[in-house]
């Protein structure tokens, strides 16, 4: 294991940020810590980096117990949500920082920085200052800076959170490709389940300072361990005594034994998919995801009464 987090507890005054958390991160993997804000995911990442100290528990990086060691001795690359760019330094000096601290020869630094800038597609911008870069460029610089020290593990704290949707999607894809090239063990903190599903091999879902489930994206989505994971990773509606995902509801125009009667509130076209927002007799809201073709075939319009039936239904005990 590249990172081994064992029984970490962290309190801020009366608030328990992390409650007896254990996670293992395999060497060369890309793991996402996924959870809503306040779930403790960033705190956990900062404890791994040594930027925060745990009240209890231990952290191992590369089989070495680093609990209580300062960040300087951990060999982690850390990428911050708001970039933490050194504003008074050029892109070159930002990326070279860790190497200069390590007193590497000038020629070696120049070569390594050039190589990294190429990797993050910032060639030609070496002499710019961070204020002259876009958000996406700044974050790529932050990544190059973190990679410069050849970190044992790369830790990213909501790295794309401050960027607009389009740049975020681009960088996400790019990060995945980068990881496939470098194979640096990476942990990414995110509250965006789509991001976690797209980027990571392994997802650890957190809430209220606890790990709810760890597994491959598909596993977490298809076989959620509990109600929280079911509703947080992907959409789900409570139907009867269980939950159902919007694409696991079948729409019919006529009732049959097991269907529920609902009224269409709104039909939302999302390109290939159509989301139909519904209200049932008790006023409970749910939605169905279906294809555009099917929605057109059934001629779904707001105000119409239709019938739905779950094709797949998950219950938790």
């Amino acid at each position: 294991m590249s990172i081994s987090i064992r029984r970490i507890t962290k309190r801020f005054d009366d608030f328990v940020a992390l409650d007896d958390v254990s996670v293992e991160v395999a060497r060369g993997s890309l793991t996402a810590l996924l959870g809503p804000s306040g779930s403790g995911k960033s705190t956990l990442l900062r404890i791994v980096a040594g930027l925060e100290t745990a009240d209890e528990g231990t952290v191992f990086i590369d089989e070495k117990n680093v609990t209580g060691r300062p960040p300087q001795e951990r060999g982690v690359g850390f990428v911050f949500q708001h970039y933490a760019a050194f504003k008074h330094m050029t892109v070159y000096d930002n990326v070279a920082f860790g190497l200069k601290i390590r007193k590497r020869p000038k020629a070696e630094i120049a070569e390594r920085v050039a190589q990294l800038l190429k990797l993050v597609q910032l060639e030609g911008l070496a002499k710019r200052y961070p204020s002259q870069l876009s958000g996406g460029q700044r974050q790529r610089m932050g990544l190059a800076r973190a990679l410069a020290i050849d970190p044992t593990v790369l830790l990213l704290d909501e790295p794309f959170g401050a960027l607009d949707a389009r740049v975020r999607a681009e960088l996400r894809e790019w990060l995945r490709r980068l990881h496939d090239e470098t194979h640096t063990t990476t942990v990414i903190v995110t509250h965006d389940q789509e991001e976690a599903m797209e980027v990571a091999d392994n997802v650890a879902v957190m809430s209220n300072g606890r790990i709810e489930q760890v597994g491959a994206p598909r596993e977490v989505y298809e076989e959620p361990a509990n109600e929280f994971v079911m509703t947080f990773v992907g959409q789900a509606h409570r139907v009867g005594d269980g939950f159902v995902r919007p694409h696991d509801l079948e729409v019919t125009l006529e009732p049959n034994g097991s269907t529920r009667e609902v009224m269409i509130d709104r039909v939302v076209h999302l390109g290939f998919n159509v989301r139909v927002d519904l209200v049932d007799r008790d006023g409970a809201r749910l939605s169905v995801q279906t294809t555009r073709d099917r929605a057109e075939l059934l001629e779904l319009v707001a105000g119409q009464i239709i019938y739905v039936r779950p094709t797949r239904h998950t219950t938790f005990t």
């Binding site: 930027l51 300062p70 960040p71 300087q72 933490a84 760019a85 008074h88 601290i101 390590r102 020290i149």
Partner: protein, 263 residues
Amino acid sequence: MGRLSLRFAALGYLTLILIGPLVMMVWRTAEDVDGAWTAISDPDTLSAFKLTLMVTAIAVVVNTVFGIVCALVIVRGDIRGRGFLNAFVDLPLSLSPVIVGFSLLTLYGLDGWLGWFQRNGYEILFATPSIVLATIFVTLPFVVREVVPTLREVGTEQEQAAETLGASGWQTFWRITLPCIRWAVIYGVVLTAARGIGEFGAVAVVSGNFAGETQTATLRVEDAYQFAYGNYAPAYGISFVLAATAVIILVAMILLQPKESRH
């Protein structure tokens, strides 16, 4: 129309209160340039300028170092009472310099708590050390006041990034923290220097005002004015030099302002 009259009021006010007296003084200096020059080049005047510069230089260095330390404690320290410290730093701004001087007299006087020095021949009062102490006292807030808000604004993320990249605390300070707050420090230094050069009240009480020895430039102006016997040229001449210095400092300050960071 309203905006025009507002502008007129502001300019008129500044002219009457600030520019008027200074222009008048420059005018009087120009009327007797020889007399002014004689006073300026007098050995005792030169010694006064030298003393003022030396004292100011010491105050600037001391208050820059401790000012940055205090600001770091106020913003980052996790000690109790930093709010108290933050308020306390402003004391010299609200306290009359005369009282500052008088309290130093009391502390270092023969029967003061620190009277040991004076009793054993280490002259503090009526000598350069007391002038330095008084000047440091009155100029203490400026660097702290400039650096505190900047430190708050900069935050700690850049420093944390430097730490993860292997920089020690000391390296982080020199390579990250200090460059981040440099404009605030420079601005604070300029204000400290201006205030130090101009200090009169506290120094007047503790220095002894011996011409050629413990007389600072502002004290010399006061002397030249008190004992003018109708010849005010020396007072105008020395004042002119001090006022010119202040203007140069002001201009330097404007030139130093980075375009983006100040209102």
